[in-house]
Amino acid sequence: MPVESDPAAKLAEYAHPERLVTTEWLAERLGRPGLVVVESDEDVLLYETGHIPGAVKVDWHTELNDPVVRDYLDGEGFAALVGSKGIARDSTVVIYGDRNNWWAAYALWVFTLFGHPDVRLLDGGRDKWIAEGRALTTEPPSVTPVEYPVVERDDTTVRAFKEDVLAHLGKPLIDVRSPEEYTGERTHMPAYPEEGALRGGHIPTAASVPWACAAAEDGTFKRRAELEAIYRDEVGLRDGDEVIAYCRIGERSSHTWFVLTHLLGFEHVRNYDGSWTEWGSAVRVPIAVGPERGEVPGR
């Protein structure tokens, strides 16, 4: 690991503290060789309005996705993309973004598909950095492209497809969308032409835990004890559980995937990136509506 972990006490509570850094830690290390800071936002123009000095931009939507297939870049595409941003295989990558790191977590999850060894989130993301009055610049960073090896994506460990979810029914599922989307109310409301699934509702047996439950007021992650109370005490997750999280297109649920995997230490968590836009329109899959989790359908 080229850059040491952040020893902050709060982070030490988590299962994998090496996956998070604090704003103080980052501010002291900007420009350090081997460290690449990446901004990944929901809003595609936000980076241009000001970013952490030296940070490069990765857009989750236009850069991490394959332009033709509904899928992520392949190994060659990923190598070309991140190499062009100055990211080497042994770089320490720190990702931050807007909205409680929602999109930053998504980018981190995609880096994980390619097994990038050292990728971390900035706790509190863009908003905390700005709230603390830290440096921002509109100056584009000077990037020296590097060679990144072609690594094939691993779609089996942290990613679930529709068929995987069907086979998974009966084991823990977490729906991280808003309560209105979970009950199915939302897509039935008039004059709301959202990117739609044909049906509203949720995957039967899924627990509703909106993703933002894991974030504190200032956008940092909640303390470990608070997270345990939500995901273990309320939802009922236990050690050794296999868990699948989903949302609408897989971005919010990668935030929850990060919480379960890196903060709480669950070892078998997958993100279903097809999520409700796929499930709610797919033929011959069961759905549940209303506030109840619903039953495992008979097979």
């Binding site: 929901e42 595609v44 123009l45 241009e48 032409p193």
Partner: protein, 146 residues
């Protein structure tokens, strides 16, 4: 409706975008974002008058009004942390300014899709502008009926 009948400001905006490469389209959208007019004083203390555009993930609000001469004005507000959404709102607010209701109602619903932004910012995001246009037309219809 084609480019010859599209309201002049919207037609010009489209030409401007399509004349640029993808990266420069983002810069132009940022320019629009920075140009979003301030909300008129009379609405600043009445946020209840503004309708939230739920299709956008950012808190964007719009309000369409008809002046005494029967011409359309669209007001919008979106936070600085949502420059893309501000840019969309600004394109519409500037493009609808001073049009007649008939001209606004005749704007094709797919106008946002024709700006060449699908590749630059993604179709999912451009749909936010479509939602804004649809709501502006619906508000206008309500004003005309009311």
């Amino acid at each position: 409706m084609d480019a010859t009948t599209l309201p002049a400001a919207l037609a010009e905006t489209r030409e401007d975008f399509l004349a640029l490469g993808l990266k420069d389209r983002l810069t132009l959208l940022l320019d629009f974002s920075n140009e979003l007019p301030e909300l008129p004083e009379r609405y600043r203390d009445h946020p209840d008058l503004l309708e939230r555009v739920e299709e956008c993930q950012s808190p964007v609000f719009i309000f369409v009004e008809l002046d005494d001469a029967g011409l359309v004005h669209m007001h919008a507000t979106a936070p600085a942390e949502a420059p893309t959404t501000r840019g969309f709102a600004s394109i519409l607010a500037q493009g609808l300014e001073g049009l007649t209701p008939d001209e606004v109602m005749a704007i094709p619903a797919d106008y946002p899709q024709s700006l060449g932004l699908n590749e630059a910012v993604s179709p999912l995001r451009v749909r936010g502008m479509s939602g804004m246009l649809a709501r502006a037309k619906r508000q206008l219809a309500e004003r005309l009926a009311g």
